[in-house]
């Protein structure tokens, strides 16, 4: 799967077609990483600062992301730095109109929180936050498929969810603690799933 919403069918197909075996997450060799690299990622440098989002928006992204992929026995989206990844994509990758649309989507989330609870999303209780996200999720992924054009707020939530998953499962935490990278070496075409026990990242 492609990781910015440019998952058009053409692209998905062309990847199958041209037979590049790797999935979106670049296969990784955890052992090849030196300790300094690991530290550098887990503790972002002090002077890291968002370039598109302001502090409030960054916190909003981190909060939503952490509900989408929360901490369990492994760290969640916030600890994996998903909000920093989102800011990087918005700054260095997104075409301006798409970036603006995403930022407008954030404002819309706060507007919903205000109209429901009189507070910003971040100020809401965790239960209120989850309830708001559930509404967005259900609108974005209706139980019965409807072929009507997606409204802008479902666009936002779909994108937010996708960016959270990409940001999380391609982070060091997601790729090596929650999942694990396929080791370099032999290719084995048919092994019992039980011998592996979790998906390759």
């Amino acid at each position: 799967m492609e990781h910015d919403d440019l998952i058009t069918r053409r692209e998905a197909l062309s990847r199958v077609a041209i037979l590049l075996g790797g999935a979106i997450s670049a296969p990784t060799l955890a052992g090849a990483l030196d300790a300094a690299t690991r530290r550098a990622w887990t503790t972002p440098s002090r002077d890291w600062a968002p370039r598109t989002l302001d502090a409030g928006q960054l916190e909003l992204v981190a909060t939503m992301a952490d509900h989408i992929v929360p901490q369990t026995d492994t760290p969640g989206a916030r600890a994996a730095g998903v909000h920093r990844f989102v800011d990087t994509l918005l700054s260095d990758h997104y075409p301006t109109p798409e970036r603006d649309r995403f930022v407008a989507g954030l404002a819309d989330v706060d507007a919903r929180a205000r109209s429901g609870h009189g507070k910003t999303f971040v100020e809401c209780t965790a239960d209120q936050q989850v309830a708001l996200l559930t509404e967005l999720d259900e609108a974005a992924f209706p139980a019965v498929r409807i072929d009507s054009p997606r409204t802008s707020d479902t666009w936002f939530f779909r994108r937010m969810k996708e960016l959270t998953l990409v940001g999380y499962y391609t982070s060091q935490v997601g790729a090596t603690q929650e999942l694990h990278p396929s080791p370099f070496g032999a290719y084995r075409g048919d092994i019992p799933y039980g011998s592996v026990g979790r998906a390759w990242s």
């Binding site: 910015d4 197909l13 990087t88 019992p192």
Partner: protein
């Protein structure tokens, strides 16, 4: 004026081969490359980088994204990503003109597209070499399978090809290293297809990737993204394979950052005497001389160069007395096929990122019962099966602990297949020079190319047959697709398969072809064209190994002719 025995223009798949063969046969050779140097290992700057060290996490850089601003054409392909954009050409600096969309994907460095190619390699057969003669499209090939078969073997033994022998006449076997393994899903689908259709076969892709050591190169360690470069030299590239061999002779000079502007022709001897080169950094022009010139700049770059090499004898382009130079452009048409899910096998998984998929050899129009009346020629399929990864979570309802638990395991199996179809050689698919020039003073190429009725009819069968095969194999939710959106639209437009070929075709008759049976210009004996420009038809299999075999064969001929004093 510096004089060499031979000049090779281009350092990609064919240029590397020409340099190796000519230097090994004793010629002092100058290989000229417009792009920068790329040093094996050192310059694979993203190889083995874990995803989190790539700021965009290896985003696909599609048209409109910030990283793609210099690359509006290259960004059309899904192959163009954060991790390998440095191996693609900057379109803004190297523009061309499309009449209708023609996506021209180019590598622009020492190694050319050999660094980023898909490595699928299949021999042609006489079904292909006789096709033009049989159905009257294009001119007859001046060679047959028997002429090229030993050269395929020669190339395969040197580059290293892994694959399975099938004993099929339409897809001859080669000199193979042990094949890669299919996964459980592919094995299941293979069994189902072969049970339902005894004349159709599913095999693992034949790839120029080692499964055993070869000449100091190591077998593949299944890291996955080959298109970032391979320090173990496990897949064939100029850097891993032909360049070290050519260098070992001490007769090779490589000249990067130097674009060949035109080939110099001397009417008094009817020979080319060398090339005119523009230094891409200083913009200085310099001439280099040689006794023989090989054009290996890739199909359309070579033809552009010939068209731009004019003289009173050849006012319409060098070696173009026939007038066919630029015409009969082809590509494969692809992205029509089917996908489906495979039930069960949830206790089966695989390990390693296998840079290869499955292949279904052509089964249509073999001159038997399977023949079709509504189109000529045929297609093969490439594809593969796998289990869904975490990305599936982005397309379904649900979030939180439950989603995270679900994505801890892989999802169900799915299988996809896309056809690669043969394209007919048509005169009205052509390129010409426009009156605009690039910064090096070379006129821009203008490309006119569309699919014809035969390709469009074949695509229907490509999609339908794939669907029928997946259904027969027991797949569920089978959907067929065709990414072509109509003439003038992006989707599966010509060029997109990156198998562009033709425009300086081989043939028996100098009046209707540019090159003879040895890739030698009919008009000018010491001029050879051995990249895809030489192709008189397109077959349906990936073309590069045929270019390599033709190149090695042409070098052999050129050196013999030099020795005989004929050049």
């Amino acid at each position: 004026m510096i004089t060499y025995d031979a000049i090779v223009v281009g350092s990609g798949i064919t240029g590397g081969w020409a340099a190796k063969e000519l230097t090994e046969k004793g010629l002092r050779t100058l290989m000229i490359e417009r792009g920068r140097d790329v040093v094996h290992r050192t310059d694979y700057i993203t190889e083995h980088k874990p995803s989190w060290e790539l700021p965009l996490r290896d985003a696909r850089l599609s048209v409109g994204t910030k990283g793609a601003e210099e690359y509006p054409i290259q960004a059309r392909t899904g192959q163009f990503r954060e991790s390998n954009k440095h191996f693609f050409i900057k379109d803004k600096k190297n523009p061309y003109i499309e009449d209708k969309p023609f996506t021209w994907i180019q590598g622009d460095q020492v190694g050319g597209k050999s660094l980023i190619w898909g490595r699928q390699v299949y021999r042609w057969s006489d079904l292909d070499f006789e096709a033009n003669l049989r159905d009257g499209h294009g001119v007859d090939w001046p060679i047959r399978y028997a002429d090229i078969a030993p050269w395929y073997s020669y190339v395969e033994r040197f580059i290293g090809v892994s694959g399975e022998k099938l004993g099929l006449t339409q897809l001859p076997d080669g000199e193979f290293q042990p094949p890669m393994e299919m996964n459980a899903g592919e094995k299941l689908v293979k069994a189902g297809i072969e049970r339902a259709f005894p004349d159709r076969h599913v095999t693992i892709g034949r790839v120029a990737i080692l499964t055993q050591p070869l000449n100091g190169r190591l077998p593949c360690h299944y890291c996955g993204p080959c298109e970032r470069g391979c320090s173990t030299g496990s897949y064939f590239s100029t850097q891993a394979s032909t360049l070290p061999a050519a260098r070992a002779t001490q007769r090779l000079t490589v000249l990067p950052n130097s674009i060949v502007h035109s080939v110099i022709y001397d009417a008094s001897t009817n020979r080319v005497t060398g090339v005119r080169v523009v230094d891409t950094v200083t913009k200085q022009t310099q001439e280099y001389r040689a006794r023989v010139v090989f054009l290996c700049a890739s199909t359309l770059a070579t033809t552009r160069l010939l068209l731009n090499s004019t003289s009173p004898r050849f006012p319409n382009g060098l070696a173009n007395s026939s007038g066919v130079l630029g015409h009969y452009l082809m590509d494969h048409h692809f992205l029509a096929g089917a996908g489906g899910s495979i039930e069960g096998l949830l206790d089966h998984y695989y390990q390693g990122n296998r840079p290869n998929g499955i292949y279904v050899p052509r089964f249509r129009n073999l001159g038997d019962d399977a023949s079709r009346r509504d189109y000529v020629r045929g297609f093969g399929y490439q594809g593969g099966a796998g289990r869904q990864g975490w990305g599936r979570g982005g397309g379904e309802r649900g979030f939180g602990v439950e989603l995270k638990r679900k994505l801890h395991d892989p999802g169900q199996w799915s299988m996809g297949m896309t056809g690669f179809g043969e394209c007919l050689p048509r005169e009205d698919n052509y390129v010409e020079l426009s009156d605009q020039k690039d910064e090096f003073g070379i006129p821009l190429l203008k490309i006119h190319c569309t699919w014809g009725d035969n390709e469009l009819a074949m695509r229907k069968d490509m999609a339908a047959s794939a669907g029928e095969m997946l259904e027969a194999a027991g797949c569920k939710n089978v959907h067929t697709y065709d990414a072509y959106r109509g003439s003038g639209q992006l989707g599966a437009e010509p060029g997109f398969a990156i198998h562009e070929m033709g425009t300086a075709r081989m043939g028996r008759d100098p009046k209707t072809s540019v090159l003879n049976a040895y890739n030698q210009a009919h008009d000018v004996p010491n001029l050879f064209v051995t990249d895809g420009a030489c192709m008189a038809s397109s077959s349906c299999v990936n073309p590069s190994i045929t270019y390599m075999a033709l190149t090695a064969r042409a070098c052999d001929h050129a050196v013999e002719e030099l020795k005989r004093g004929n050049l």
